[in-house]
Each structure stands twice: as C-alpha cells, then as structure tokens.
C-alpha cells in the first residue's frame, strides 16, 4: 500500500481508522505527561515503569489464563505501580541515588518478567503464544474498546490537569516551596506519577515495554525547544506525540511488515532531531548562526575602532590613509573593509581609505550605549 493510499483508506477502512485513532491518542497523552517527567528530571522513570510492568502482564496471564488486554494491562498497572513505589522508597529510605534505584528496579522487574515469559512459553497448552508482543508492541491488535479506554483515560487526565494546573506547575518548579505554602505535595506528586504509570501501561500494547519511554520523552523534548511557556510546551508535546502516532502508523501500514511501535518511536525521534536543529530560540543551527553573526559584527566594530583611533589624530575626518596601515591590525580582512564601505562608514579610493562622517559618529558611540 502506498502512503497516499493509506490516507485515502483511513476514512473507509475501519481497522486502519481504529489503529490510527489509538496511536494518535496514545501519542497525545504520552506527550502531555512526558512533559511533566522531563521537567522533573525523571526522564528515566518512564523506562523503569514500563519495564516494571512486564512481570505484571505475565502474572495476570498465569492467574487468569486469558489474553484479554484489559486483564493483562491491569496486571501491568499493578506491577508498574509496585515498581514505582519501590523506586520512591529506595530513594527516600536509603542513600541510593535515584538513577541507581531506577536501574535496579528496571533490570530486576524486566529480568523477572522475561523469566516468566519463557516459563509460560514452555507450558504445554496452546494458548500461551503472543504475550511477547508486549515487548515491542503490536498496534495491529488494537480494537475499538482499547481505543475507547485510551480516550477515557486521556479525557480524565486532561480534566485533572486543568483542575490542578497551578498545583502541578508549582510542584514541578519548586517542590519545597510548594510545601511551605501548605499544599500536600505528596498528593500532587502521587497524582502526577499515577497518570504517568497509567499512560505507560496504555501504551504497552502498541509500543511495547522496551520502547515505551521514548514515547514519553521524545515529544516533550522536542516541544521544549520551541517555547518558554509550560502550557504551550504541553500542547505542542501532545501534538508532536499524536502526529508521531499517525505518521508512524501510516508508514508501517504502507510498508508491509514494518512493526508499528518502533516506527512511531523513530518518527518521534525525527521531531526531536528537527527541533534540536531548527528551533529558532534553542536550536543548534540558529545558535551557531547568531554566534557567527556576532563574531562578524565584533570584527567589524574593532576594525572601525582602529580606523577611528587613526582618524582622530587628524584635523579632517575625511583625511585619506593608506590601506596598508590596516594590515597591522589583526581583525582586518578585505571583506570587512568592503562591508564597512557598504555601510557608508568608510570611503575607499584607490589604495587609501577615509572615514565618513557617519562612520566617525558610529565609532565614537560604539560602546557608549550601555
């Protein structure tokens, strides 16, 4: 299927539409909540939580014997939450740093989950296959009720966020201060963390345990580049996330057999790369251009200053001087002289130059304006 064919079928093909809706909603909620994780410097938390969810999926299957998504995701939610509270406990109760706690929980839970998966695969009944789709996700298995669940959770999350906007913002910026104002920071913290866990669990079916954290971080990291306003950042992150979902699904549907989860993550990474390079305020490209421009301006000003110091010693500003003199000056190049001439600060005649009235004034006022 061609990419254009995908978009024309989007409105007629029910399955395709369901999957696209699902990945778009997932991208949006992950972008929103990922912004919180990024700003709290908890980027790795998402990775730990998603890995911690794996044993929950396996245990839910072992207990119930069904492969119903909601049951398995409930298991994932429980074990994801247990993992999260272990991490919090380790950080507050011991002197371990949070990256150590995250790493420990991540590998411990993931290892245990993999162990359970291999154990399940060795079981003699025929129903066991397919749990490993939660490792890398399989968007094709999304059905309408999955998407409805995602939409409901996203809606609730949005309402909570709008309701507690002020509390979320101040906690993200300055937690200690928030506490002194009388807010229950534990409650706000748990609320944010709970929704992050929820978003991750929702994404496991589509993107999978291993790549889930990229869904949280990539849209948020990209959005941060474009704005200095929290609300705009969150909206942008949601949009980037949703577009990653839609484009990722489109590409994987049009190129047969490409796994959707990894493609979505790659599309999100393209957003990040593009933002890192091209965003006007923080992007590498414009930063470099500004630096280059500033350096050129400074060289120009220094040359002008040098000329000014020479011209100053003569009665007439327009007194001509040999260009040769300028060779002694480090910042001088032929192009600077040309640029100065274009600005009408300097007149060049044959092998000599002279300052203009305008150039003289500009030089005299160079560093007086601050």
């Amino acid at each position: 299927m061609e990419l254009s064919e995908y978009f024309s079928q989007l409105f007629s093909d029910y399955t395709l539409r369901t999957i696209t809706m699902g990945t778009a909603i997932l991208g949006a909620i992950c972008g929103m909540l990922g912004s919180f994780a990024v700003l709290r410097k908890q980027s790795l938390l998402g990775d730990a939580i998603s890995h911690a969810a794996l044993p929950g999926i396996a245990i839910a299957f072992l207990i119930t014997g069904t492969k119903d998504t909601n049951v398995l995701l409930l298991g994932a939610l429980v074990s994801g939450l247990i993992g999260t509270f272990w991490i919090r406990g380790m950080v507050t109760k011991t002197h371990l740093k949070s990256d150590t706690a995250l790493g420990l929980v991540l590998s411990l839970f993931f290892g245990f989950g993999m162990l359970l998966l291999t154990f399940i695969q060795k079981q003699p009944n025929a129903n066991q296959a397919g749990l490993d789709k939660y490792l890398f996700g399989q968007a094709a298995t999304l059905v309408e009720k999955d998407v409805t669940l995602m939409a409901v959770v996203t809606g609730i999350c949005l309402i909570i966020m709008l309701l507690f906007w002020k509390e979320f913002k101040i906690l993200l910026f300055d937690a200690d201060y928030t506490k002194t104002l009388g807010f229950n920071t534990r409650f706000i913290d748990i609320l944010i963390t709970f929704f992050i866990v929820l978003a991750i669990v929702l994404g496991l079916q589509t993107v999978g345990v291993v790549l889930m954290s990229a869904m949280l971080l990539a849209p948020a990291a990209a959005a941060r580049q474009w704005t200095n306003k929290l609300s705009v950042m969150i909206v942008l992150a949601a949009i980037f996330g949703a577009f990653s979902g839609v484009f990722g699904t489109a590409i994987s549907a049009s190129q047969n057999n490409l796994s959707t989860g990894p493609v979505i993550v790659l599309v999100a990474s393209v957003f990040v790369l593009f933002s890192f390079i091209f965003s006007p305020g923080r992007g590498v490209l414009f930063k470099q251009l500004r630096k280059y421009q500033n350096r050129r301006d400074l060289e120009l000003q220094k040359t002008l200053q040098f000329m000014f110091d020479i011209a100053k010693t003569h009665e007439r500003i327009s007194h001509p001087h040999a260009i040769k003199i300028l060779n002694n000056f480090q910042g001088y190049t032929k192009s600077t002289l040309k640029e100065l001439e274009e600005k009408e600060w300097v007149k060049v005649k044959g092998q000599s130059w002279s300052l203009t009235e305008k150039g003289y004034d500009a030089a005299a006022n160079l560093y007086n304006n601050n």
Binding site: L39, W165, L172, F173, T180, G182, T227, N228
Partner: protein, 246 residues
C-alpha cells in the same frame, strides 16, 4: 530594645539525616520585628534549621511554634526564599509567573490566580526593581535578578515572618544593596526576618539580631551584645577576629 512578642519559638529541635545529628537540641526564641542572621560554618545546619521550622524537613524530636501556635496553623504568616540553586532556572516560565506563585498559598487548591493576584505580583516585581523584566524567561535573568525574583515571590505572600536562605549568595553589590534595603523596610513595617548569612563582616551593619549555630545553638541575641570574638571562636572553632565597632 523592648520586644514583647515572640514570633518564632523552637523547642528541643533535633534533626538527623543518618547517624550524625545535623541539629542537636536547639532551643530558640526570635522576638517579633527583628532582622536576624543565622551564622555558622558549612555543615552547621543553618539551612536545615529553617527548613525544619518550615516543615520541609521532619525533625526527630522537638517542636516549632509561630506566634504561639503550631506552624501548620500559621502558614499564611510565613514566607520563604529558598536558595537560588535549589530550582532549575531553565524551567519554561517567566519572572512574573514565578512571582505569582507567591499568591498560590492564599488561593488554596484549584482556584486560579486572577487580576488581584497579578497586580500584587507586579507590585512586588516593582519593589525589587524587576518590573521591566516581568515577561523575561527566567533562564535569561542574571543571578542577581533571579534572586530578586525569588525575593519578590516571598514579598507577594505578604507575611509576618520571612525566612531567607542565603539571599546574598553570588549576587553583585547592586543587588545586595537592593535586597538589604528591602529587608530593612520589612523590619520597619514590623515584620520578622530570619536570614541564613555567610558574610560575617556585614552582620553588624545589616542585622540587629544574630544566632550562632554549629549543630548546637551557641548563642542568640542582639548583635550589639553577643556578636563578639568569643562567640565567633566558639562557633567556628578557630580564633576569630572581626572588627566589631558597633
């Protein structure tokens, strides 16, 4: 000097992060209306003391009261200026927005700041000379300007007692003078101000009350009575000589 009311009272406060206590059995009374410096060497527990009073850190033992009542009931009387380095200044927000956060405590849960809060924030920004920078992204402010934004955020709380954790750290002379003038204005208005302070030379000039701290409380009282070589030596453990000419 007659100080009738006790603004802050600390009884038997002990704090420990691990085995070693950071604060040991602190008793402290701060009279209303003083400008008090807390001085002591690094690791003396100066920041910990104000964080414990503010309920950010849970003490192992002891109690704190603000105007005779537990801190929980008196939060609205207290404002706090944390150390500048305690937050991420690259956070996507503006100077005005940060100062507005000072109104959140009185607003309480869920209610959003409105026109009244915004006006109060602008007024506070003006007091610290930062009004022209209200829309500036906070990472684009200098260290001194960031400190003034933090001060404005506390001013907007319109409290009776102000706690400040090293407000003079890493700021230039202009900002230092601007800050100390505001502190003196607060005192004139009858407020109590407690400042963790590092520069011993300026204590007699800036403050009228001082607490010497080194895990234990060494001394507390009026600067003119107790700011002497004897207490400095006891606190810093070396023979300290400071010209005290007040």
């Amino acid at each position: 000097m007659s100080h009738s009311k006790i603004a802050i009272r600390v009884d038997d406060l002990t704090v420990a992060y691990s085995y070693k206590p950071v604060l040991w059995d602190i008793d402290l009374e701060v009279p209303e209306g003083v400008l008090m410096a807390i001085v002591g060497p690094n690791g003396a527990g100066k920041s910990t003391l104000i964080k414990s009073i503010l309920g950010i850190i849970d003490p192992i033992a002891g109690s704190v009261s603000i105007y005779g009542k537990p801190y929980d009931k008196q939060r609205k009387l207290v404002a706090y200026v944390p150390q500048k380095g305690s937050v991420d200044w690259d956070f996507p927000t503006t100077a005005l927005d940060v100062v507005t956060m000072g109104t959140y405590g009185k607003l309480g849960w869920i209610k959003r700041p409105g026109g009244k809060e915004k006006r109060a924030a602008l007024e506070a920004l003006e007091k610290v000379g930062m009004l022209p920078f209200k829309g500036r992204q906070i990472s684009q402010l200098s260290g001194g300007q960031q400190q003034r934004v933090f001060l404005a955020r506390a001013l907007v709380q319109d409290a009776a007692i102000y706690f400040m954790d090293e407000p003079f750290q890493g700021v230039d002379a202009t900002t230092e003078i601007a800050i100390i003038n505001i502190l003196k204005e607060l005192r004139k208005a009858g407020k109590t101000v407690v400042v963790v302070h590092h520069d011993l030379q300026t204590v007699p000039e800036y403050f009228d009350w001082v607490t010497f701290l080194n895990v234990k409380k060494i001394a507390t009282g009026p600067v003119k009575d107790i700011f002497n070589d004897d207490n400095l030596t006891k606190t810093y453990g070396i023979n300290y000589k400071v010209a005290v000419n007040q």
